[in-house]
Amino acid sequence: MANHSIVFDKVTKRFPKADKPSVNEVSLQIEEGSFVTILGASGCGKTTLLKMVNRIYEPTSGRIFVEGEDVATVPVTQLRRKIGYVIQQVGLFPHMTIEENIATVPRILGWDNKQIDERIDELLELVHLPPKDFRKRYPRQLSGGQQQRVGLARAMAGNPAIMLMDEPFGAIDAITRASLQDELIQIQRRLHKTILFVTHDIEEALKLGDKIVIMNNGEIQQYDTPFHIITQPANAFVSRLVHSEDVLKRLSVMKAESVMTEIEGTVHPNEIRVSKEENCKTILMHILKSEHDSVIVEDGNQTPVGRVTLAHLKIHEALSQSLSAS
């Protein structure tokens, strides 16, 4: 259990008077530092599953471990202070300024003023809100996207290792949502938080998740990487869910790393370069626009490590399609 940040052990939640459980015998292990998205249709139990981690709901049966400790044995306020929690409605405190909102948990944890002050600046910069402009504002003076940025900053204030996020970008327009997603990915890469992220948007789940939990009727259908979910759906439900997705979406979950081959021949000076993490949809766009039918993949030090050609993309796309059809 050492490097499992959150473990669900046969967790069931049946609300009083409900005829069937909202979450049914779910067992799941979330690795430390991984970004896991929970995907499923409305009412399938995503929120219920999430809220049992910070004990907003108590399981009917089964156990949940956070960092090795059974959550039922940890005092609830103490548990929640080490888990960041972000919801769709944001829930900023309207009578407090942005800085006061963010300072809430550090204050409770007894940090000194100077430390809190620096933390506020650091977090606002992390979510791309210039502290000078935003610290003294009130929530109503912010746009929806800015409010959610503050919600994110506030949830991270106490430096929790785990973040629970329930459709945090659900009420935000597509363009802002895309940039918030990118920022969240960057934040996670930098800070290595364990993130459990609920969404009902397939594209969002594929884009953000290192792994995806697919739920239906309170049960887990598949828990795997985006690539495997698409190429090897575990059952008809998953297959139907992802099959409605088109070629471009499938390409968008494949990383350059996974399809590149060794560089043969010379590297042209004006051949486009991409990072190892770049997705194949973007690579396809690059190829379509460039004079070469390939791109060079480079590592963090800008050293070329491989090449992706149009032919590779075609092979992999055909492969994934045939795999998911079988």
């Binding site: 907003i56 929690y85 409605q89 944001v90 829930g91 900023l92 309207p94 009578h95 809430t104 948990v105």
Partner: protein, 211 residues
């Protein structure tokens, strides 16, 4: 008219202060009861219908009848007056306290809980400041109605501006009736304005508009 005021200003002042004391002590005692009860009703929904019904029935008892009913139990004077006034104000106060706490956005509470605020921290930092405008609105209405009903308390020797009004009625004295009415109205208007100002201020604060 003015002669009467100049001659008896000390008496009127005393009655005015008695009236004020009666009103303020009524409100303080009433809130000691209404705040916890209203908060409880905001949490335990099924309790609100029976409790508010009982308070509604009390509210509907004519004030003279209620004062009369209390005389055999606690005698004459300030005591029965305050008991009756506290009972009357409960409907408005309890209802507003309940609505005040219910009106706090559930997502704000959930966010607070999720951050690990203890119930006490949640109450004082979040729920109380956000519910305050509605609660103060109730206090304002209860204050003006208490000031009105308290005039009748003079009938059971509780003092206050009701005394000069009753005397005026019995003695057919226009100056007494007029000055009594003027001072009761002044008190009511002043209380209303003061509490309205507090209410607006707290509402601005709750919305984050107070700079």
């Amino acid at each position: 008219m003015l002669d009467y005021l100049l001659k008896y200003y000390d008496q009127i002042l005393i009655q005015f202060l008695q009236h004020l004391v009666l009103t303020v002590s009524t409100l303080v005692l009433a809130l000691l009861f209404a705040l916890p009860v209203g908060f409880l009703l905001s949490r335990v929904k099924w309790l609100s219908v029976p409790v508010l019904s009982v308070l509604g029935i009390i509210y509907a008892i004519p004030s003279l009848a209620l004062f009369a009913m209390l005389i055999p139990l606690v005698g004459l004077g300030v005591k029965p007056a305050i008991i009756a006034l506290v009972a009357y104000s409960q409907l408005i106060l309890v209802r507003n306290v309940m609505v005040g706490f219910q009106s706090v956005d559930a997502s704000i509470i959930e966010a607070g809980k999720g951050m690990g605020l203890s119930p006490a921290q949640l109450f004082w930092k979040i729920e109380w400041p956000l519910a305050l405008p509605v609660i103060l609105g109730g206090v304002r209405i209860a204050a003006t109605s208490t000031i009105g009903i308290a005039t009748i308390a003079a009938w059971i020797n509780a003092g206050g501006l009701g005394k000069i009004l009753f005397e005026g009625l019995y003695q057919n004295s226009i100056p007494k009736i007029v000055w009594g009415t003027v001072f009761v109205s002044l008190l009511a208007i002043a209380a209303n304005q003061l509490l309205l100002w507090l209410e607006k201020r707290s509402a601005l604060r709750a919305r984050g508009e107070l700079s």
